[in-house]
């Protein structure tokens, strides 16, 4: 499914200036869009506004040309799955499998209980992303990386067409960051999902994204294909650092990397 935001603007009540303005982007199925920007540029606000958790003060979100406001919460829940930032403070936590089963909620009636079929599907989803060993562990005992995998499984078990993740790799170690990134790439390539993720790391956007929207505190946001947006000049302006982009040869593949060289004088 194609997800698009047209002229999106958001202003918190009582705030003088909008935190988001002139947001325009689209992302097709089988594509990954990365949202990039410095702290305070409104990345999480954009995530919440574009899937209807906040109401746009101007503009709209569209799924295949249909305005999100014309869909019910339930319809949105079946189409878009949202993965929040994995916080470690979980109280009264469910086991991994129970938590993933919760993801079936948009498909069950209000008084309905998940049956064996639902649990089997939750289990299969966990196994398919390599999180099967977390099924019986209480979420509160999990590490950040483990909990993130459970949250992604919970999102996938809802059988969404669009997956929205808020900083899925933040706070994870080197290994787990790559586990998450490779998984997202696989979902895009094999399950043809539309994936939108929010990230602090330009290198990650460069590595896995097809499209990028670059938010900035001072300027209007820039969006486009990864090669259009991820230029040394644009990144330097937005993050106020000197940036070099280069390709590294690994296993007969050119893997692009980006490094911040120095603060700009």
């Amino acid at each position: 499914m194609t997800f698009a935001v047209i002229d999106g603007a958001f202003r918190y009540p009582h705030a003088r200036t909008p935190i988001l303005d002139g947001i325009n982007f689209f992302v097709d199925e089988g594509e990954l869009l990365a949202v990039l920007g410095p702290n305070g540029a409104g990345k999480t606000t954009l995530m919440r506004a574009m899937i209807g958790l906040l109401q746009w003060s101007g503009g709209r979100s569209e799924i295949d040309g249909v305005n999100l406001n014309e869909m019910t919460q339930r319809e949105i829940g079946r189409t878009i799955a949202y993965v929040p930032q994995a916080r470690s403070a979980v109280t009264l936590s469910l086991t991994g499998l129970d938590m993933v089963t919760v993801g079936r909620a948009p498909h069950l009636g209000i008084f309905e209980q998940p049956g064996l079929k639902e649990r089997a599907r939750a289990w299969e989803t966990m196994v398919s992303i390599g999180a099967g060993h977390l099924a019986q562990m209480p979420c509160g005992n999990m590490s950040g990386g483990q909990f993130q995998m459970v949250l992604i499984a919970r999102a996938l078990v809802a059988e969404p067409r669009i997956l929205v993740l808020d900083e899925p790799e933040t706070g994870l170690d080197f290994h787990n960051q790559l586990v998450v990134l490779k998984l997202l790439r696989r979902l895009v390539a094999e399950a043809k999902l539309t994936v939108i993720m929010n990230t602090h790391y330009p290198a990650h956007a460069l590595r896995v994204a097809d499209r990028v929207i670059l938010l900035d505190v001072a300027h209007r946001p820039v969006s486009g294909s990864v090669t259009e947006v991820m230029t040394e000049q644009l990144l330097a302006e937005v993050f106020d650092v000197e940036v070099r982009i280069s390709d590294v040869n690994y296993d007969d593949q050119q893997i692009p990397t980006v490094t911040a060289m120095d603060l700009r004088g």
């Binding site: 469910l94 086991t95 909620a105």
Partner: protein
């Protein structure tokens, strides 16, 4: 959607340093695994709970100052069902005037308070949220005391108690909510504040109450007692408790979604604007009905759900039914103790506190304040 299931799974996101937390979880899932299978209670465990409930109910009917034997009870029940005269009028009047109403009341009150506690804990995703800690119990008491002063009937007492309970709930939630989020500590502190205000108002009401008739009545009633509540009063109060408990029971699995953050619950397609108030009002209705029938019965709403958690884990799908049964069992035991261990009856809240507080200390020490 399963396309990606065919590729080899990604490496498990795990490191050796986490083996400690894992061994803890295995130890914990041992008991839970024995009682829960595929997210459901094992049938034998349900049977055991029901048998325990039946046993406690029988003990509650038989125990007391006036000795009644099981055959006498069966005979009297048979005569009652058949619509005949009691062959032993004493047994008949003790059974139907005192014992049975009390047993029924204990079952309804215990299960109701336990479910209300579990519901509050989920809806606020706060292990310490209960009718007592949220100030709801104290709030409902204002309404009930007011109604008692005005000599209203039970229905009026209940409605006024409910009204003040909802007000107290709203005030607590409003104080605790900061920028759209409610922290565990803030909610409990707000509950303490609201309880303090409510208790001050109750003291004020006691001050103006007639010291010869009304004041003792209010004071004794506030301590909690199931004595003197007949079938007529139960017929009025119990349906509301049953209704509230049944609503929460039907929504038990959804409570798992409700316990997530607001964004997650809404993104999962949940209508929070409807579901959250439904659960909160249900739990408040239960509390208000309990308070108007038998005063403040503390601790049950905190202890029973946590007992259930220790037994079957944190999935509300199984916590709610286990809390229902355990709450009834515990209330029956406490009420039977309250009226049999000494010549004069001990107020229930005294016993629940004396038994509940030490248990809670054990619980706190075991979890170390990490409610996982």
């Amino acid at each position: 959607m399963r396309v990606y299931a065919e590729t080899p799974p990604a490496a498990p996101a795990q490191s050796p340093s986490r083996s400690n937390s894992e061994s803890r979880s295995v130890a914990r899932s041992g008991l839970t695994g024995a009682l829960v299978c595929d997210g459901r209670l094992r049938p034998w465990f349900v049977v055991v709970l029901w048998l325990a409930l039946a046993g406690c109910a029988a003990a509650s009917v038989l125990a007391g100052r006036y000795g009644v034997a099981l055959p006498q009870v069966v005979t009297a029940l048979w005569e009652y069902v058949g619509g005949r005269e009691f062959s032993d009028p004493n047994v008949g009047s003790v059974l139907f005037g005192v014992r049975l109403p009390r047993t029924v009341l204990a079952i309804v009150v215990g299960s109701g308070l336990a479910v209300a506690g579990a519901a509050f804990q989920s809806v606020f995703s706060n292990p310490l949220a209960t009718p007592d800690t949220l100030g709801v119990a104290a709030g409902t008491s204002i309404g009930a005391v007011l109604a008692l002063l005005m000599e209203w009937r039970l229905l009026g007492v209940q409605l006024l108690a409910l009204l003040f309970g909802l007000i107290a709930m709203a005030v607590t939630a409003a104080i605790a909510r900061q920028r759209g989020r409610t922290s565990i500590v803030m909610l409990v502190l707000a509950g303490v504040i609201v309880s303090a205000i409510a208790n001050a108002v109750i003291s004020l009401l006691k001050l103006v109450a007639d010291p010869t008739s009304k004041l003792p009545e209010i004071t004794y009633w506030l301590m909690g007692s199931m004595a003197g509540v007949g079938f007529d009063a139960i017929a009025l109060g119990a349906p509301l408790i049953v209704l509230g408990s049944f609503t929460v029971y039907l929504l038990r699995w959804r409570l798992n979604v409700l316990a997530l953050s607001e964004d997650e619950a809404r993104a999962a397609g949940l209508n929070l604007k409807v579901l959250r108030p439904v659960v909160i009002v249900s739990a408040t209705v239960i509390t208000a009905s309990v308070v108007s029938m038998c005063g403040q019965v503390g601790w049950i709403g905190l202890l029973v759900p946590h007992c259930a958690r220790m037994l079957v884990g944190n999935n509300n799908r199984v916590i709610i039914p286990v809390s229902l049964l355990l709450g009834a069992i515990m209330m029956l035991l406490i009420d039977t103790l309250a009226r049999t261990i000494t010549a004069s009856e001990i107020p229930i809240s005294v016993l629940t506190a004396l038994l509940g507080a030490p248990f809670f200390i054990v619980l706190l020490r075991r979890t170390g304040g990490n409610w996982r």
